[in-house]
Symmetry: C2
Subunit: 477 residues, 2 copies
């Protein structure tokens, strides 16, 4: 609860983030190092995200299934790059039912291998393709440095795994799902993102190409908020996923995978949060509206509550919380729900009852400027319009913030300078050595090579060689 002030973002961004999550009861630390408990308020946000994404996956032809948590260790070794990427991060089960296991099992860090194995059993003919399956699951990666939501040993995500007859179809699927993520991020979470291709260095272990959406957080650091991988025939060959084509010839399938995780909750917190706490996007917020009755005594209460009940009924189409706790003051409630980021607060006091009005306070615009007094008639429409305005408002604010912190440095020295407080959007020759030098000098990595480029060519910001694409450099979570 809101007993003490949060640290401000400028004082200590990292402490602001950690304390906010715990005080707003989004998540807590589990007894095992690096694991988290997602508390009901945080999980309600994730459930809204899940439902929205799940609908989008189903609309694009996907179905859900559930693949096992435990994978034979040998499976990971079948794809060379994959095992190199994931071996250091594995949690390994060596004992089951009191016995040492003959073959150790890994807890899935991701499921390409076991799904590849199943697809090789299920896919026989071109008629079986495409296979478009998603699963909502928990995965475990043994990370050394952890942060609630951003990087935890266990996290929750969806992972889509598709198999196609042709390279073209698989490539289209990869980009289709990247677009689904981008649209979700911008329309639902109000988080503007850059869609782009990762450099070879930053690619998923085992992928031919990785695409990502990248978002700017409130401290200007970047966060990779979703990825979509074109896996080529790497896993098809490792797991022998073949089909008989129209000419009765055996062919390897082409596969993709794509994932978005509870890390995205961290993105929402850091993209919109302010020094008072969370600012949640109306389309995903567990509560869109909190209604607070204001009264000093029983007489006032008996005037106010019928209007509260009437408004509650009229606003039943929204996710509404009526906070009628008697043991705390209205001021305490204001702070509490501000901390928890409820987009819109409604107050009803005795004067409102007389005038037939209520007060609305926007979470995204503090103080007087965000407050308005409106008639009780047409409350649902008024509130709906206001929630739309808030949704648009916080998106635009994030777009403006990003715009103010993306730079086009003219020299390598300037690049190093701008990366202290923003992103650089610069020509890059594509050479991993140039990427490594920037990382060495600034801790910034290439985020992605955006799909939307203005074209033309230039000189690599690092080595000066000709470059045909621009890339975003940024320090990242």
């Amino acid at each position: 609860m809101a007993e003490e002030k949060l640290p401000t973002r400028s004082e200590n961004y990292s402490e602001w983030y950690n304390q906010l999550i715990q005080r707003a009861e989004m998540a807590d630390y589990a007894p095992v190092r690096g694991c988290m408990v997602v508390r009901p308020y945080g999980w309600a946000l994730w459930e809204n995200m899940q439902q929205n994404l799940d609908k989008r996956f189903k609309e694009t032809g996907h179905v859900n299934a559930a693949f096992p948590l435990l994978i034979p260790k040998s499976f990971l070794e079948k794809e060379k790059e994959h095992v190199e990427g994931f071996a250091p991060e594995l949690a390994i089960v060596t004992i089951g039912g009191g016995q040492e296991l003959e073959e150790p099992l890994v807890i899935r860090p991701t499921s390409e291998t076991v799904i590849g194995y199943m697809y090789s059993k299920w896919i026989k003919s071109y008629r079986d393709l495409p296979v478009l399956i998603n699963q909502w699951a928990n995965v475990v990666r043994w990370e050394m440095r952890t942060r609630l939501f951003l990087r935890t040993l266990e996290f929750y995500w969806q992972e889509g795994h598709t198999a196609h007859a042709t390279q073209k179809e698989a490539e289209e699927e990869t980009l289709r799902m990247l677009d689904v993520y981008a649209d979700f991020a911008e329309k639902e979470a109000a988080v503007p993102v850059i869609r782009g291709r990762k450099s070879a260095t930053e690619r998923f272990a085992g992928a031919k190409e990785t695409y990502s959406i990248e978002a700017m957080m409130g401290d200007t650091r970047a966060l990779q908020a979703g990825t979509s991988h074109f896996l080529g025939q790497n896993f098809a060959k490792a797991f022998d996923i073949q089909y008989l084509d129209l000419n009765n010839q055996l062919q390897h399938v082409w596969t993709t995978s794509w994932g978005l995780s509870t890390r995205f909750v961290g993105a929402i917190i850091m993209a919109h949060g302010d020094d008072q706490g969370l600012v949640l996007p109306p389309r995903l917020a567990p509560y869109q509206v909190v209604l607070i009755p204001i009264y000093k005594n029983d007489e006032e209460r008996s005037k106010v509550m019928p209007v509260v009940e009437k408004l509650k009924a009229e606003l039943s189409g929204f996710r509404l919380k009526v906070d009628d706790r008697s043991e705390v003051t209205p001021g305490f409630k204001f702070n509490d729900w501000e901390l928890r980021g409820v987009p819109l607060r409604i107050e009803v006091g005795p004067k409102d009852v007389e005038k037939g009005t209520f007060a609305m306070a926007r979470r995204d615009i503090p103080g007087r400027d965000g407050k308005s007094f409106v008639p009780q008639v047409n409350a649902a429409r008024t509130v709906g319009d206001m929630l739309d305005q808030i949704q648009t408002g916080i998106f635009q604010k994030a777009v403006d913030f990003r715009k103010a912190h993306v730079f086009d440095p003219k020299s390598y020295d300037e690049l190093k300078e701008v990366l202290q407080g923003g992103w650089a959007y610069s020509w890059w020759c594509g050479d991993a050595a140039c990427e490594a030098k920037v990382k060495e000098d600034t801790k910034a990595t290439t985020r992605n090579i955006p799909l939307d480029q203005e074209g033309g060519s230039g000189k690599c910001i690092v080595c000066g060689k000709p470059a045909s694409e621009k890339v975003y450099f940024a320090r990242a979570y």
Copy 2:
């Protein structure tokens, strides 16, 4: 697919079950012994069950959260009976990130311990109570003999964990959730169940009382389809979950837990399935209706398809599948969807187009008797009514089947006899020795002591001593 006939239930019930699940593409065996892959068709059924249950949990005041998969091994040892029950079934992680762990971690077999630990952090005052949290999760129990859905190393479930200020509230919660399960089972899954108290022998490890719903399968064996546990203060004491009461005195809370798992999918399969395959309850079936166009040539096709499209639009409120595959015959499709248990099949052929009718075939009544020809007008209403009839019909069929196979034996010899092909509903003195003798002699266990008893008293069917309650004995899954 339906290339070969299924074994009949009377030939080999167990093979009927195993083959049906695989052929209907409900689930498949994972590479790790005893683990399963729930395929899209099976998962769609589980998702419908989840949504329905989740709504019921929320209506009774519960919220969802997510607790971690990995639990320090020492946690399980804090509640003596709990560890005795679960120790033999644990999967243990001993290596993380390439290092031997200082303390081994168990993969949760159930979450009372880790949730108890978190509740002890969160609960301070009577104002924090009750805590009513549920989670949808995967758990792992190292079972030796496994069956798809019924008993797998990893399974999916929900586990509710609540904490209360008083014993009475916790007991009420335990029975409230038992009723939620029973209502779900009967109204949604059309599976009649007996609500009752488990014997001490059959109690959950660490519970003061365990209640269950028990269902009869098509081979007359019993299946425990959901459980609700009153945990007393066992876990509150083991994990030091205390609150300050109104008088500022520290008190231990009273807790409950309750769970229903993917095992219930097995119950649906075995309660309703017949020799042609699955028979799914309309309220939960992934597809409620399959629409099959019937035509011999392009001319007929061009007549039939507009009516199919029109019906598809009119029936958009149902979960409808139009099967317009051209590479297989209508007969193949009939068998295929019968195997998959779609409750209602609609056929539209050239004659139907002329007459303004379509044909409906109920999955639960084979052949001519289940077939009717109805006008295309008011299709949605006709189909809705028919689905309701099917839902009621399969429930009644299951009730009748159970009635025909529950016996009231007059002697111990008769008890042994009836248990070969049904359940016995008998007086029992409550002594574990009598229970053990029945198990030894017949493999049947006490299922539960039903909450709804006719009262009175009698003599224990085993030892003849006075008994005040009747119990169900049955062989069980």
